[in-house]
Amino acid sequence: MTGRALDLTLHLLDRQVLDQDGGMVCNVDDVEFLVPDDGAPPYITTLLTGPAALAPRLGGLLGRWVLSAYQLLGERHDKEPDRIPYELVTDIAASVKVSRTRAEMGVHPGEDRARQYFVDRIPGARHESS
């Protein structure tokens, strides 16, 4: 897919990230660019995900509220987003596919812990519809 063109907000931001097994990992909430010192065009090195990545895009009061809630309730209590190195991306289409599993990447640990200790213990929580 070398040389293909896309627009960031139309074709990459807010897309679902799927792991190698087709499981839902996260959404692309922001991306990080490396800006070369020689004036060459910046390029994407990392996909950012989680409330700490989304909050700056939302901006304003809503962004500050999301970031505060994440700091208060999140696993790490910091402002750093979860990161997926671009090297792991295998395809960008209707969804973004990566070459690892959600567990291997360790994104959204708080969400995983909530599922482990709370959601999965609700009667019927393991009865998937598909």
Binding site: T2, A5, L8, L10, Y43, I44, G59, Y86
Partner: protein, 116 residues
């Protein structure tokens, strides 16, 4: 630098005149090798004033229906312009300085390729 630092940033011409805001970032997959593929590097910026109309994609993504929506959104997006990376003098969070005061039309994307 994050995309959030650039999206919505003010675009200024060489004489300091406001040209609009960054509505989107055009990427081309021919940057340095990262893993199995080339990196997505910045080709340029879609510059305009109407964020919502631009995010429907009618101005640049080969979208043209329904006809009524197309007509309205195309009209709202008529002022959108494209700032090529070659014409960027300085890029800083919240601010993009251009070397040119006149920007060209936004190239359309057709099947992942830029239509010139």
């Amino acid at each position: 630098m994050r995309a959030a630092d650039v999206l919505g940033a003010e675009v200024l011409g060489p004489d300091g005149v406001r040209l609009g805001k960054v509505l989107d970032i055009r990427l081309v997959q021919d940057g340095p090798m990262l893993g199995a593929d080339c990196a997505l590097r910045i080709e340029g910026f879609v510059v305009g004033k109407r964020w919502l109309a631009s995010h429907l994609g009618y101005d640049r993504a080969n979208v043209n229906g329904p006809a009524l929506v197309n007509a309205v959104v195309q009209r709202l997006s008529a002022d959108n312009r494209f700032l090529s990376w070659d014409d960027v003098a300085q890029l800083a969070p919240g601010r993009v300085e251009a070397r040119v005061s006149q920007l060209g039309p936004v190239p359309t994307l057709v099947d992942g390729q830029i239509k010139t």
